[in-house]
């Protein structure tokens, strides 16, 4: 790897209420790359994603062991404030979730509570431009965010995420509720965003993973002997070209070819 990784995950185990959800994950994530996390339902993709900004802390009974180094610092170390991590590692969810406020307030919200002292109008414009939404909303910044289309709302959420100037954006199926045109806009936007940000995206859409990502991680569900406990493992993590043309593991091949899952 030419650069220091943005994230280094080592021996990561996650359990909820004593039940394992993810076992023994290890991976390095280079900065300014798009990483797709793929795998069947229930394999721990979202659980893994939430480990990168300590969102699992919010789930009662969640226990995380192992290391997630972010720019060399263990984000699960005792003296680390999860809020600080979430400021640097933003998140965009499956369904667009703008606040019932104006477009401007949605973008300014995070910066305002962080005590942003700069020119707020400039920040709003810069963030909306960064999310490829400015031209569509610049004359209606005071309109309710809820008046926007689904695709515009999702880009607004991306603008809101980048307004607090993170360096990583986590995306949990950001286009699954959008039509193909809105999906293309999000995918194009991701390519622009990766010039500045590291992006980790969970997606069920194999073609989307193949189109947008530089590297792909395939997670798969393992089941114990009694069939009662199941958890996710990282089967293969490699360049997206390699994963989609010649994966090393048969389970990856079978899954992406639609033989199971």
């Amino acid at each position: 790897m030419s650069q220091e990784p943005a994230f280094s995950v080592r021996d990561l185990h996650v359990s909820y209420g004593g039940q394992p959800a993810l076992k023994d994950v290890g991976m390095d994530i280079e900065p300014c790359k798009i990483i797709a996390v793929i795998g069947p339902s229930g394999c721990g993709k979202s659980t893994l994603l939430r480990c990168f900004n300590r969102m699992n802390d919010l789930i009662p009974g969640a226990k995380i062991t192992g290391e997630v180094l972010y720019n060399g610092q263990d984000i699960y170390a005792k003296d680390v404030d999860p809020v600080t991590i979430r400021r640097s590692v933003g998140m965009v969810f499956q369904r667009p979730n703008p606040f019932p406020k104006s477009i401007r307030d949605n973008v300014a919200y995070g910066a305002r509570i962080n005590g942003y002292k700069g020119n707020m109008d400039e920040l709003v414009e810069r963030s909306l431009r960064g999310a490829a939404l400015w031209d569509e909303v610049k004359d209606n910044l005071n309109k309710s965010a809820l008046s926007l289309s689904g695709g515009q709302q999702q880009r607004l959420c991306i603008a809101r995420a980048i307004a607090v100037e993170p360096d990583t954006i986590l995306m949990d199926e950001p286009a699954s509720a959008l039509d193909p045109v809105a999906t293309s806009k999000i995918e194009d936007l991701m390519q622009e965003l990766k010039e500045k940000y590291t992006i980790i995206i969970v997606t069920h859409n194999m073609q989307q993973a193949a189109r947008v990502s530089d590297k792909a991680a395939f997670l798969y569900t393992e089941v114990n002997e009694t069939g009662k406990a199941r958890w996710g493992i990282l089967v293969e993590y490699d360049d997206t070209d390699r994963i989609f043309t010649n994966p090393r593991d048969k389970r990856t091949e079978d899954y992406i070819s639609g033989r199971f899952g």
Binding site: Q207, A210, T245, N246, T252, I256, S257
Partner: protein
């Protein structure tokens, strides 16, 4: 999962084997027509080339449809790419058999030049045998058999060189210039058929290993 897709992919894959069998048959019959100066058989071989072409067009259409609608990845994607390449080679090999049949249909007495007729028959048999093995390797997805064809092709190249040397050594009273030239062309076409067989074998290797290694 995706059973219709898998069935369609398997069926297109099988059609490559069918197409290979038709090409093999064309080579065999074109050679018989040449040796026995059987113009009727030669014309039948030329007509049968339409079946090979139809199969080629059909396979290509179905492969494109799979690419467009099913977005195959990994091994499936490599198989489709290998199918598109292999059928192109088989179609060319079919055209070369057609050319041989055309020489036979014109009753050019290439097989009656005593000094070279044995070598010509051998060249035809060896090239057909290589193509046949390539089709077997395809049908069984047998990468070891596919790789073994490289040495086989080297032997055919040597045979082809010997064949050329014999043509250059022909005396004026042994044959006409036109017949000698046709003989040289027919020999070249058989040698090219073997090359197309090697390309088909390379497709098997690409499908199985994902590596582009040129055998010939």
């Amino acid at each position: 999962m995706r059973e219709r897709y898998r069935r369609e992919l398997d069926s297109v894959d099988q059609d490559v084997v069918r197409m290979g069998a038709l090409v093999e048959q064309a080579i065999e019959q074109a050679t018989i027509a040449l040796i026995e100066s059987d113009a009727t058989l030669a014309l039948r071989v030329m007509e049968a080339d339409n079946d090979i072409d139809d199969l080629y067009v059909g396979i290509e259409k179905r492969a494109l449809s799979i690419l467009a609608k099913q977005a195959p990845v990994a091994g499936d994607l490599r198989l489709i790419v290998a199918i598109l390449r292999a059928t192109h080679d088989l179609e060319r090999a079919g055209d070369l058999a057609y050319n041989v049949a055309k020489v036979a249909a014109k009753q050019v007495p290439v097989a009656r030049i005593k000094a070279i007729s044995g070598l010509l028959v051998e060249l035809s048999a060896e090239s057909r045998s290589l193509l046949s093995k390539a089709i077997d390797a395809w049908a069984e997805k047998d990468v070891i058999l596919a790789r073994s064809l490289q040495d086989f092709d080297d032997d055919i190249d040597e045979l082809h060189k010997r064949f050329y040397r014999e043509i250059f050594a022909l005396k004026q009273d042994e044959t006409s210039f036109e017949t000698a030239m046709n003989a040289a062309l027919v020999g070249r076409w058989f040698e090219r058929i073997a090359d197309h067989g090697v390309n088909v074998a390379e497709g098997v290797q690409f499908y199985i290993t994902g590596q582009e290694e040129l055998l010939g």
